[in-house]
């Protein structure tokens, strides 16, 4: 189980598509309506179904970012 970022087509309403995604059995964590993104928690095996939902443009795994420690030389 991990976090995925679902990119919604600008021609669709993010909240509507999020409901359809939830209908596939996947847990919807956040709907970011201003920027057309939905954050879900799902197993790899479920991702195919999510991609098939109308209005879904892309599904990507969440990634981490690190700027280093406070006393880092370059940040």
């Amino acid at each position: 189980m991990k976090r995925w970022l679902v990119t919604i087509s600008p021609a669709h309403d993010a909240a509507d598509v999020a409901r359809a995604i939830a209908g596939t059995g996947v847990a919807v964590e956040q709907v970011l309506a201003e920027i057309g993104s939905v954050v879900v928690n799902a197993e790899q095996a479920q991702i195919g179904s999510v991609k098939a939902v109308v209005g879904v443009d892309a599904v990507e795994p969440d990634q981490s970012v690190d700027i280093g420690p406070p006393d880092g030389k370059i940040s």
Binding site: L32, A33, I35, V39, D62, Q63, V65, I67, S75
Partner: protein, 407 residues
């Protein structure tokens, strides 16, 4: 002239100037002669005027009109003279003579002046008590950091009034005295309070939005001093975050109509569709996302590598691309080496380097541009920034359109 050939930072000529107390000039002249110096007295020259050759092999030149004498370095040393004066000396002060230069280039002149001032201070006060190095002295003499000066910020009449700037980072020291009275809106997306316990966020906010006149002798280090500051904590106090948290921060900033969104963060990841979509939506809604190109020295990372997000490279004080600055998809460049700005209390100020420091220079300048014209939003603001950038003799892959400039 051999002194000039030393090629070091010592601006002394090797000669000494003795300034006499009122009425003590003749006594001073007598003292010089008593020590067997050959003294040239300008009263002996027509119109008190002479050229160097006229002095022959004089050890000293007396300037009665000025009440002082110029003593040659060898003559000074041979008589074991020092800079100290006794109470009954005819001399008020004895100082090394310094070169004065005429410089075409104002900043070179000021740098030279500053080195001379430091040299004089060390001579008079005693050496190496001073911890000041040139970089710290420079902003104090010039009144603003090198970065603000190069971006032409001090010359701008804009303040960012009416413009909301979101800085998505490690939060902010909300009690920092330099931000007292500022309008600050906060939100956390990482499960920790917005209060910055890292320092990165406070430093970036300082550059983008810091005060016009920091207290005491602190140089100006901030650009949009009247902006409304939106602090989105998308990085923990340990400096880490996720795309999901960052997207949530962007969503919040766009929803709050922030014309400028500054993101000094990223990874070496290839383009992420989520960032590209966020950038597109932001532009359409009048928000410009500005992100750091990265410090890997390799290709621009995400989110800056999204075509809908403005990527910022870092410049050194000599306006060359910083060695660490990523390249490839770069839209613009800004000062990113040895950038002085605010950090959390008690330290209050610190110097950092990185494309993280270059990014808020662009964000701050973007806020000033946005203030000049309400149509300068989103893509129009992006284009204005690149069109008005100062061209640099480096490829676009390194510096984009060049050095960002304030209106």
């Amino acid at each position: 002239m051999s002194a000039l050939d030393r090629g070091d930072d010592d601006f002394t000529t090797g000669r000494y100037i003795v300034t006499y107390k009122d009425g003590a000039l003749e006594q001073g002249l007598a003292a010089l002669r008593a020590s067997n110096m050959r003294v040239a007295d300008t009263r002996d020259f027509v119109d008190h005027s002479f050229v160097a050759q006229d002095l022959g092999d004089a050890d000293a030149v007396l300037f009665p009109e000025l009440g002082c004498a110029l003593i040659g370095g060898e003559a000074f040393a041979e008589r074991a003279m020092t800079l100290q004066t006794q109470a009954d000396d005819p001399a008020q002060t004895i100082e090394p003579e310094y070169f004065a230069f005429a410089e075409r280039n104002t900043s070179e002149y000021l740098r030279g002046f500053m080195r001379a001032a430091e040299a004089i201070a060390q001579d008079l006060l005693g050496a190496s008590d001073s911890e000041l190095d040139e970089r710290e002295l420079e902003p104090q003499v010039l009144g603003a950091t090198w970065g603000l000066t190069q971006c032409k910020v001090p010359l701008s009449v804009q303040s960012g009034m009416g413009i909301s700037v979101a800085v998505l980072d490690t939060g902010m020291d909300l009690g920092h005295p330099d931000f007292a009275g500022r309008t600050v809106v906060t939100s956390t997306f990482v499960g920790e309070p917005v209060q910055d316990l890292h320092s990165h966020g406070t430093h970036c906010i300082g550059t983008a939005c810091g005060p016009k006149a920091p207290p005491g002798t602190t140089p100006r280090y901030g650009i949009g001093y009247n902006t409304k500051i939106y602090v989105g904590k998308v990085l923990t106090n340990a400096g880490s975050g996720t795309t999901a948290g960052i997207l949530a921060g962007i969503n919040w900033a766009v929803g709050n109509k922030c014309a400028v969104i500054s993101m000094s963060l990223g990874s070496n990841s290839p383009v992420q569709a989520a960032y590209t979509a966020a950038g597109r939506a932001a532009l359409q809604k009048g928000s410009l996302i500005i992100a750091a190109a990265g410090n890997s020295g390799g290709p621009t990372g995400a989110p800056a590598n999204s075509p809908t997000i403005m990527s910022v490279a870092s410049l050194d004080p000599n306006l060359k691309p910083s060695s660490f600055s990523s390249f490839g998809k770069v839209e613009i460049a800004a000062p990113g080496r040895d950038v002085f700005s605010s950090v959390p209390r008690p330290t209050r100020y610190g110097t950092k380097s990185g494309t993280s420091m270059a990014t808020p220079h662009v964000a701050g300048c973007a806020a000033l541009w946005a203030q000049t014209n309400p149509t300068l939003r989103g893509l129009a603001l992006w284009k204005k920034l690149t069109a008005s950038a100062k061209s640099l003799p480096f490829p676009a892959s390194k510096v984009g359109a060049g050095l960002v400039q304030a209106p």
